[in-house]
Amino acid sequence: MEILVCIKQVPDDAAEIRLKADGTPDLDGVAQVVNAFDTYALEMATRLKEAVGGEITVISVGGESARDALKTCLAVGAQHAFLLTDPAFEGSDSLGKARILATAKAKLEEKSGKPFDLIFCGLEATDKATGQTGAQLAELLNLPLITNLTDISYENGTVTAKQETDFGYNLIDSAAPCVVTVNTPAYAPRYPTIKSKLAAKKMPIDPISLADLGEDAGKVGKQAALTRTVRFAEPPQKVAGVKIKEETCEDSARRAVAMMVEAKAL
């Protein structure tokens, strides 16, 4: 099975990000990591690969720093990695990114002669949380889409996805090839082993540019973006309320419940 996993490098979502004096997000000193949902996607893909055989290719649109994110993926299950990088890609919106990924997929298939059976994306990226790229990639590739997966299996050309619902879960079938977006599965992404980490360091990560893709410069990047951020703001700080620390839990509870009644919260 040939699997493609699309990943994004994002600022560490454990960091609390504020604005700089110039009104843009202050990312200085914030570690760049693989988007958490993408790590779940890669783990799910890796488990599937281990079950049915095959190879995993990871791709990412980004600058040189995204190379580290791809290297991380090579240490935990991926066999090949390509960095989609070009000044012309900068400022792409989700549809633009989906277009770059879609074209890259076709190029990689053309080069290897092996079509991808499954394309994994994270449900959303933790920085912008739009969750659009995976769905739009499916549209541009004209492939079936299953969103919000927590597990996957594959048999005789049919992908079966587990999708959680308010009552339990759905099992959804689709013919391969298809695009899936991954939510948090029941299992955590694996850690690299010392050896896989050292091996990943030596694996090639070839760059792919706009020219390599043969894509029209007018269709990607800033000038093609349909959404534009005008400015950033910080949300009004919620004023912290009253802290209660009475002698006993009972006294604390009594005061708290009285305040809840007073605020008509009960």
Binding site: Y191, K197, L198, K201
Partner: protein, 379 residues
């Protein structure tokens, strides 16, 4: 990073740090209370291959330089020094084989580690601590076998190891020259583990008695020749000491990090307490000590990598790093004030953890003897 490490080491550092932050640090707080050996954490560490950092490349290891390994071990120690001790003691248990063993013994021992095992080094006995020649454990040749009898105590990884390197008297009349070193795998009849220590610190490491009762092993399990055991044990400890210095440095580093974080947040007299120069100087003194200890560890390990003599440097590293770990942990508690003395906060554990590093693998008094002998020379 204060260690100057290889590109490979650099690559690994982030992954090991992340693992320790997410899987070790918080979890070990609880295990410190219960004293339970956290098997699931060690299983994860083994899966990540953290337990085999010291296995030589030719026997299936990674071939990392020692200073890079030290940077990784220090990360583990920052998270929990008991955890780091288990990992490092496994390296210790393997060393007698690597120092004095045959090709076959080396391959066998390393295979067991690579397959997910730990190792233990068994020298200390109830009546033989610093004075190894007072050991009562015996090994008697019987045809193609040796039969061992005796009791080893304070054995790190005693109950969790795949193999043991054990010293025993083959010639009681010869003193230290009568000590031999043996390789014994777990599940060998006659080998059992006894009393488990309920320790003051490093409570996530296992420490227990290892008991030998008519334990029969093939004669081929002798490491080196009869009578070489003491020399192999001393070489083992010479190397291992630098690693203990490394873990002690990690404890101190953690203490300083906690003190800085707390000092920035704790407001007294309307400002963070760390705005007081008196406390800033405490941090400066911690940094001076920690950095000095770390570079001494690195120096001793570099000498080892280069094949140069390292006894004195290794002893200095262990002795100094463990002394300053106690000082830094104590000062960190001081900076936390009353909270520092509370088990709810992370620093009192550091003092309990640090103490053993002044004691095991040669007390700091023994270290000073080693340093003195190496410095003064014969006269």
């Amino acid at each position: 990073m204060a260690y100057i490490i290889s590109e490979e080491g650099q690559e690994l550092l982030g992954a090991v740090k992340e693992f320790c932050e997410k899987e070790v640090k918080e979890q070990c707080k609880e295990y410190d209370k219960t004293g339970e050996w956290p098997k699931e954490i060690y299983d994860k560490a083994i899966e990540m291959q953290l337990h085999m950092l010291e296995v030589p490349e030719e026997y299936g290891g990674m071939g990392l330089d020692r200073v890079s390994v030290a940077a990784l071990i220090e990360q583990m120690a920052i998270a929990d020094s008991g955890f780091a001790t288990t990992i490092s003691a496994s390296g210790l248990g393997m060393k007698p084989v690597l120092i004095g063993g045959t090709e076959e013994q080396k391959q066998r021992a390393c295979d067991l580690i690579v397959d997910g095992g730990f190792a233990a080094f068994c020298l200390t006995e109830p009546g033989a601590g610093s004075d190894a020649s007072a050991g009562k454990t015996t090994a008697v040749r019987d045809g193609d076998s040796y039969i061992l009898n005796g009791r080893k105590c304070f054995i790190t990884n005693g109950a969790v190891s795949s193999f043991y390197c054990v010293t025993a008297m083959t010639d009681k009349s010869a003193g230290t020259k009568g000590i031999s070193m043996f390789y014994i795998e777990k599940d060998t009849p006659g080998l059992s583990t006894g009393h488990e220590e309920d320790k003051m610190g490093i409570r996530t490491s296992n420490t227990c008695d290892v008991v030998l009762e008519d334990c029969r092993i093939p004669a081929s399990n002798l490491i080196g020749a009869e009578g070489q055991g003491f020399s192999i044990a001393m070489k083992t400890l010479d190397q291992a000491r630098a690693w203990m210095g490394c873990i002690a440095t990690g404890i101190a580093q953690r203490g300083m990090e906690e003190a800085i974080a707390y000092g920035k947040e704790r407001i007294q007299f309307g400002k963070p307490v760390l705005k007081n120069q008196a406390l800033q100087f405490k941090i400066a003194d911690m940094a001076i000590k920690i950095e000095t200890a770390r570079q001494m560890v690195a120096h001793a390990l570099t000498l080892m990598d280069l094949g140069l003599p390292y006894s004195k440097e290794s002893a200095i590293a262990k002795c100094y790093a463990s002394d300053i770990a106690m000082e830094v942990a104590s000062e960190a508690i001081q900076m936390f004030g009353g909270y520092g003395y509370s088990r709810e906060y992370p620093v009192e554990k550091l003092l309990r953890d640090a103490k053993i590093f002044q004691i095991f693998e040669g007390t700091n008094e023994i270290q000073r003897i080693v340093v003195a002998n190496n410095t003064i020379g014969r006269f």
